[in-house]
Amino acid sequence: MRGSERVFTAPSESSRSPAGTRSPALAIEGVSKRFGSGDDTVLAVDDVSLTIERGSIVGLLGPNGAGKTTLIKCALGIVLPDDGSVRVFGTDVSGRGRRAAYADVDAMLEGARNDYWRLTVRENLRYFSTISGVDPDSVADRHDRLLARLDLTDKANTAVRDLSRGMKGKVSLASVLAGGAELVFLDEPTLGLDVEGSRTLRRELRRLAVEEGLTVVVSSHDMTTIEAVCDRVVMMAGGKIVADDTVATLLSAADRDAVRVTSADINERLLSTLDQRFDLRAVETNGPRTTVEVGVVGDRLYELMDTLREAAVTVEDVRTVKPNLEDVFMSVTGVETDVIGGPDGTTSGNDSILTPVGDSGGRPS
């Protein structure tokens, strides 16, 4: 029986369209999903269309209830959409061909252990590569390298239950990658990890994805993860996609450039002037010194400097403040970042510790 019964077509066959052209890794067309009925109906995903090309690393960002996890589950066929279609490498996951599509897809879902804690790390990799349709003996070397890359070699023969939380997270990632899936969904991959664990996972995830040419969809509250790992960001709010672009483009369009000026000569009168003429975002007084953060772009910077000179301000420190995804997300959705703060209470963002002024778009202090 061995070797005589292939249970699925080779992914390289299944992932091509009949015309021989390479289909995108993921094509979501007009997907909607409602939960509940009557007055309790919740529209979790609202007419979402999204195409993800092969080899891209896409972040799915949004607050709780934005529809991220539901969209991922629709993509996996774990949740059946009410409307629309999902095609993975050209195969409709709700149709008869979904088994072929599954050969190329794996996922690490939010809050799930995702593997067997009573088996060792290596046993998990072997088991799940088999379940993913790959003979584990043929990828034994790959497993070794995966373990080495994730610093798990020494723990290869340790039961997962005996590992730290951070290591369990890495084992979960390794088991998802063990079968060589081409499209990988990671829903909150840093959930519950400490700072160091999150940092390691982000670094290795990015490296593995790029080197292996994976298509990765990362859903996360944690904007640091998205910004560090992804090339492209899809922002969701209220079940809809509200922004979809490269990280660089989103950041450049954020219109959140600002300068932070520190001086001992900034007084109430000047603050009033700055508030009237400019986008004064935050003020912090530290002893004799006051630091202001003013949103300025282009020539407005010169106007700001002229204003400071006219007020006889001796500038002690000037720093530019670049926008981050947190700012972009706020400007696009109007959702405060503390709403989408990660489970551990962390948010990304610049190092501003200034007190926001009024409602002028200041970020949380």
Binding site: F8, V79, A100, G133, P136
Partner: protein, 295 residues
Amino acid sequence: MSRELDGSGSIASESGSVTGDSAGATDSPSGDDADNPRPATYYHLARAVLYREFLIFVRYPANAVGGIVVALFFFGVLFYGGQLLAGQALADSLEGIITGYFLWTLSVGAYSSVSNDIGSEVQWGTLERHITTPFGFAPVALLKGVAKVVRTFLTSAIVLVFMLLLTGTRLSLDPITVVSIAGLAIVSVLGLGFAAGGITVLYKRIGNWLNLLQFGFIVLISAPVFELPWTRVLPLAHGSALLQRAMVDGVRLWEFGLAELALLVGVAVGYLFGGYLVFHYATRRARRLGVLGDY
């Protein structure tokens, strides 16, 4: 995989186990077949599922040992209590009681392990990975069920040996006959286990209540198939009657009538298929409701 391990570098480049530069997407690693992941076959799937079950069994024997101890305890209560209350009447029917108890432990083991296993997979987040497998969930679930049955046969055999030693009873234990008939008898229970597992996927908290069904197996095992022939189509009933004849009267497998064996197979396949259908539609409804894997 269309994205094969290409030596490209990738994770191999730093470990030094692969030659070739990082840009060479088609470079091959030297000395291994890491660049050629082979598709897994049903053989590999069966091996993986059975091996996992074996590992859990030998590595964490407490569950199995606990089950054996509990089964023997209840049998001890039944045996000694029955001796006090019924005396000779119990002794006259002891062979039948042991056979029935053996089948009951098998049934309970198969049913609860399958239904509980599905519930556990839901909690662990591993159920989705078994559903999104290129093999399809049916073969995986069936193989997992087979693995549970094999494990249950081992533990129930130990219980049987202890029961025989405890009571000094002799039974006919032709392995082929006993394994075939008892195996087919509990396949129908396996079907019930799948149905219960499916319902557990839909309604998470109902799992413990469904475990109460295992006490209903006592009724099925002792069903009056001679007085009420229609009860033969119920799970376990016909298999129990045949097992009694095999173990108590010494009838061998090939000495049973073809119709009797056909009915045994038919009931087994019917309930297994029915149970799988319930599981299939329950998981499909769970996918529709968005509750598959939620816990």
